[in-house]
Assembly symmetry: D2
Homo-oligomer: 347 residues x 4
Amino acid sequence: MIISMKLHATRQEIDEVRKQVEHFGYKVHSIEGEERVVIGVVGVGDVTACLESVEAMPQVEKVVRISAPYKFVSKEFRAGRTQIRVNGLAIGGDEFIVMAGPCSVESEKQIMQAAEGVAKAGAKMLRGGAFKPRTSPYDFQGMEVEGLKLLQKAKRATGLAIITEVMSDRDVDLIAEHADVMQVGARNMQNFVLLKALGKCGRPVLLKRGMSSTMKELLMSAEYVVAHGNPDVILCERGIRTFETATRNTCDIAAIPALNELTHLPIILDPSHATGKRSLVPAVARAGVAIGADGLIVEVHPAPEKAISDGAQSLDLIQFEKMMLDLRPYIELWETSRKSEALAAAN
Amino acid sequence: MIISMKLHATRQEIDEVRKQVEHFGYKVHSIEGEERVVIGVVGVGDVTACLESVEAMPQVEKVVRISAPYKFVSKEFRAGRTQIRVNGLAIGGDEFIVMAGPCSVESEKQIMQAAEGVAKAGAKMLRGGAFKPRTSPYDFQGMEVEGLKLLQKAKRATGLAIITEVMSDRDVDLIAEHADVMQVGARNMQNFVLLKALGKCGRPVLLKRGMSSTMKELLMSAEYVVAHGNPDVILCERGIRTFETATRNTCDIAAIPALNELTHLPIILDPSHATGKRSLVPAVARAGVAIGADGLIVEVHPAPEKAISDGAQSLDLIQFEKMMLDLRPYIELWETSRKSEALAAAN
Amino acid sequence: MIISMKLHATRQEIDEVRKQVEHFGYKVHSIEGEERVVIGVVGVGDVTACLESVEAMPQVEKVVRISAPYKFVSKEFRAGRTQIRVNGLAIGGDEFIVMAGPCSVESEKQIMQAAEGVAKAGAKMLRGGAFKPRTSPYDFQGMEVEGLKLLQKAKRATGLAIITEVMSDRDVDLIAEHADVMQVGARNMQNFVLLKALGKCGRPVLLKRGMSSTMKELLMSAEYVVAHGNPDVILCERGIRTFETATRNTCDIAAIPALNELTHLPIILDPSHATGKRSLVPAVARAGVAIGADGLIVEVHPAPEKAISDGAQSLDLIQFEKMMLDLRPYIELWETSRKSEALAAAN
Amino acid sequence: MIISMKLHATRQEIDEVRKQVEHFGYKVHSIEGEERVVIGVVGVGDVTACLESVEAMPQVEKVVRISAPYKFVSKEFRAGRTQIRVNGLAIGGDEFIVMAGPCSVESEKQIMQAAEGVAKAGAKMLRGGAFKPRTSPYDFQGMEVEGLKLLQKAKRATGLAIITEVMSDRDVDLIAEHADVMQVGARNMQNFVLLKALGKCGRPVLLKRGMSSTMKELLMSAEYVVAHGNPDVILCERGIRTFETATRNTCDIAAIPALNELTHLPIILDPSHATGKRSLVPAVARAGVAIGADGLIVEVHPAPEKAISDGAQSLDLIQFEKMMLDLRPYIELWETSRKSEALAAAN
C-alpha cells in the first residue's frame, strides 16, 4: 500500500497517518520528495480496513493498493491451470469444451431436439435455463422444477453434462440435485449471499462476468465461492456494457489472456451474449479458440424464431453444426498448443 | 413496434414476418419505401415474445419497440407525483427529505452518536447497513441482526425512521420487522428474486440504480416490485460507472428530471456514492436540491477515519451540519417550486 | 512516481530498474515488503520519459505517477480563481455569465433574432457556429466567413460578445479577427496542432471536454494552450459518452467541483449538449448554477423546428426567457456565495 | 425514417408533423395504434435535415432513422471486398498484411534496426510516427520532416511500404510525399477538416477508430474521405475506452465481423493499442487473424525500455519474430478461407 499525502501536508498530519497505519500492525517507510511525502506500507494486516481508514483522513491525497485483494484464485496461489472435473470432462485441461443449448428450457420436444443436435455436432455439455432472470416481470420466468427434470431427461438420453442457472441462495440445493454445473448469471455476479451459498453446494460453478464488472471484481467474486469452500470455479467472459450499440455487448476478448496472467481458473467465452447477433457468433467463437479460452458456451435453439428468449442470438442446429466444423482446425491448433505447454511445464 | 426488413428481403420473407406478427394477435401495416419495407405493428399482445420472435427471423434488420415496457410505474398510469408515507413523512410530497447515517452499523456508540447528530442537523431518516454487500469475502460483512436492533434503539431515541439494506429474499421478513424502508443496493437492482419478495414485504422500498443500468432498466426493476404487490417504490440515483476515475462513479444528475418525465415515483440522490469523495458531497447535494430531487441519502459518520467502510466519502457530524445549513436556501426554493406546482395542478 | 516490481523480481532486475531511474536524474528509495519490492522515485526530471521507460522493463508490475502532469493550469500554480476578461466581462469573477444562441449561423434574420432575444433575456455572449463539425459529409458545414460577418453584425446591434468554433489551425487567424472567444469543440479537444495554434491567437479559448475524455486529459489540453502562450482558457463540461441512451450524453456535473479542486481556470456548463433534450435543459442549468459553475452556454434558436442542426436540444426565445427568470434566485445565491468567498480570501 | 408521436398528441399536432415531412419532399404513412400514432416516412430527400427538424417539434416522442447515413462505404454500394493497392501489396485481398515498427521514429539507428528486423520476420509495411499526438505539451512531439526522411531511407533499404501519421490538414501534402499510407490517429477520427484534405491526397488512408466512436461514426468518417475523392480507406480497430482499466483500451474484436457486414472496406487490427500490454499482444493478434481481419499493425521497438513512447506495449524484435512464427498456421487457415470465399464468389 502506498499513501500519497497532499502537497501541503504538515509534519503533524503525516505523523497522524503513520500512527494510524502502525495501529493496524503495518510498518511504515516515508519517502520525502521535493513536492510531497509518500508513505510506503509493508507487513501483514487487514489491508482493506487500513486502506479505508487512511483514505478517509484529511491531507491524504490518494491510497494505492499494490497487493492483489484475492488469494486462492491468484496465480501466486497456484501456478498452473486448475482442471475442473465434470461428468468425465476436465475443463481447463487439454480438451476444448463446447457447451451449447437454448436460452430457456421451453418444452420436452425443444430441449430433447436441442440436446441431440448439439451432442451430434460435438458439444459436451447442455445449457438451458429453468429459472430465468428477465428484465420485465411480464416476461416468461422459466419452467422451474419442471425444466430441471427435462434437463435430466436430456442428459440421460445424450450423456451431455448439464449446466443451468441459479438465481437465489434459496434454490441452490434444488438445482445442485439436477445440474452438473451451477451457472451464475452476469446480473448476479455480485450477489454475495448467493456466492456464499455456492461455496457449499458441492458442484462446480460457472461465474459470468457482470456486464460492468472489472476483471478484478470478477476474481473477487470467484474468491467468495472459493473462500466459502468450493475451489471449482469456471470464469466466463460474456461481453461488457459500453457505449457501442451495434452489438448487444462489447466482447472483451483480451480479458481472456489478461485473466490467464492473474488466475489459474479456467475461462470460457460466451460469443452469443457477447454479440447478441447470430451472424457474428461463429467468427467470435473462432477468436475465442485462437486466443486460448478453455471452451465456449453457445446459444442454440432448434427453431430460433420460436424461441421465447434470445432468438436473435441463437444458432439453429444446422448453423451450429457448421460452426463446429469451421472451428475444427482452430481447435486442433489449440490442442497442439496445450500439449506443448504441458511438455514445457513437465521439463 | 416497428420492424425494418433488410434491403433485399423478398416478398415471401416479408409475408412470413407479417404472419408471425399476426400469430401474436397484432395488426400489421407495411410501408414500402424505395429501398426497403418497414412494417408497423399495432394492437395488444405479448410484446416481448413477439419482438424476440421477429428479431430472430432472417431478413429482419432491426425491431424498434415504441411503447414503454413498464406500466404501473409510468407517467401514463398516474400523472402526478406518488407520495410515499413513512413514519409520518411523505416522500415525493412537499417536504425535502434528508436520510443520513453511516455506511455500516458498527457499534452502539457509533450509531447512537450518528443518529443524534444527523437528527439535530435536520435529517428525517437514519441510514445504516446491518447486512453489507462487500466486494471481498474478507471484509466486514455487517453486524446483521445485532445491527438491526441497534437501529431500532436509535429510532426510539431520536424518532428517525430507519432505512437499511436487504440483500437476499431470505432476509426480507426479518428486515421488514426492523426497518421503515427496505433498501436495495445497486448490485441487487436486477436480483429479480429479491424484487419479487419485496413486492410482498409491506414496507416501502428504496431502489438504487445499478451502476451500469439504464433509466429504463431501473424502471423495469421498480415495475417488478409494484407488479408483485407493492406500489411504494422510491428510486435513487447514485452514480453510474464510466471511464472517468477521478470520482468513484459519475453522478448522472440529468437522470432526475429525465425520470420525472417517465415516472410518478419519487427520486432521491445519493451524493456520497455518486462521487466517492467527501469534499464533493455538499456541492453535488446542492445540485440535487436545485434539480428537483425529492430528497438525499448521505453517508455521515461520527469519525470517518475510523469507519469500517466508505470513510473517504463520509461527512463527519460537523461537516454534515454545515452542509444542511448551506442547503437551507436551496430547500426553500425547492419548497416554493413544489407549492407552485401543487397550485397549478389544483387549477 | 512509485514503481511496483513483480512478485518474483530478482535482486538484479530490481537493480536494473534503479539504474534506469537514476539515469533520468532521479533518486530512488526501495521499500522491501514481505511479498514484493516497491521503489519510490523522487527528484526533478523528465517524468513521462522515465515512466514510459520503466513501464517497459520486464519484472515491473505497475508504475503509478503521483505528481500531476500539468503545471500552469493547476491549483498549485495559482491558488485563487483566474478571471478572464472578454468584452468588459470577467469570466470566473463575481458575475454569472450566460452564453446563448443557435448551434449554427443560418441566415441574417435568424442570427439577429436570436441575438436580440437572448440579450433581452439576460445573456452576455452570443454563440453561433460558422464552421461546423458534422458527422456526415452530406450535412450542412456552416456559412463560414459569411457566418462570421453576421456574428459581427449581431455584436454591433446588441453589444453581445461573440463565441464561435474553430476547427483547424488554418482558420485560427481568420476566426480570431471576428470572435471574442475561440471555441474548441469536444471532437477537437485533443487536436494538438490546433491547441498549439490557439496558444498564439491572442483571444480567450473555451475548451470543451471531449466526449470520452477524463478531467485530467481536459486539463492537459488546457495546459497545451497555456504552455504555448495563452493563459486565458475557459473549461466547459458538456456531457460524456456512456452506456445510457435516454439522454444524448451523460452530464458529469460533479466534474465542476472536482475540477475546481484541481485548477484555477473557470468552468462553464453546456446543459444543451449534456442532455440533448430541450425539456431537460432548464433543470440541468439550475443544477449548474447551484453547484458553482462560472456560467452556462445554451443553445437557443428563434424557431427550433427550422434549425439546421440541434433543434431538439434548442430552446426557443420564450423558453429561454422563462429559464433565465427561473434561474434568477439561484444566481443570487451564487453571487452571495462568491462574495463570501472573496471576503474570506481577503482576510 | 419512423416518427413516434407522444401519447397525447392531438390531430393538429400530427398534421403539423406530416406537413413538415412533406415539405422536405417525403411521403408519409400514418399508423394509428391504440395508444399512439407512428408516422412512416418514405422517399428521397435531405434525411438529416428532415430528421433534425421533426425531432425538434413538440409532441414528437422519438425519430428513428432506418436507412444508413453513409453510401459509398456501404455493402450496398459494393458487395465484395475492396482491395487497396500499396507498393505492390493488396490490402483486403488474399494476403494477410502485417505492418510493424516503433511508435515514434527516434533516430536513424533505431528506425533502420526496426525496419530490418520486422522485414526479416515477415512484415510488409513499416509504421513509425514522425508527427506525434502527445497528451502532454511537455512530451516529445516527433522528429517531423527529419523523421519522414529516415522512414524513406528505411524503405529504400528494406522495400517495406511506409505508413505514418498525419495530424493536420496543413501537413497532408508534405506527408503524402514521403508515405505510402496516411494514418489518421484515434484522436483525429472526427477531425473533419483533415478528413476532407485526405480526400485529395492521392494516397490510401488508414483510419483508426476513435476511442469512444461507434462503428457507425467510424464509417461516417470513412465516408468523408471517400466523398471528397479518395476511395482507398483502410479501417482500423484499436480498442475503445470503457470502465475496465486492466488493459489500456478494450479490444472490440467483434467490430471486425460486424463492420464486414456493413462495409466493403478492409479492416485491420492494432493489438498494441487495444491492450497496452506487450504480454497480451500475441494472443490478441491471433484472435485478429482467426476472426478475419485483413491485417495487423503492431508496435515493435529494437529496445522497448529505451522507447520514448509506448514502450510497455512494444514487442522487441525477438518477440515479434516469435509472434510471426506463432501466427503462421492461423494465417494459413486465413488464406484457405479467403480462397474458398473467392471461389464461392466466382460461382
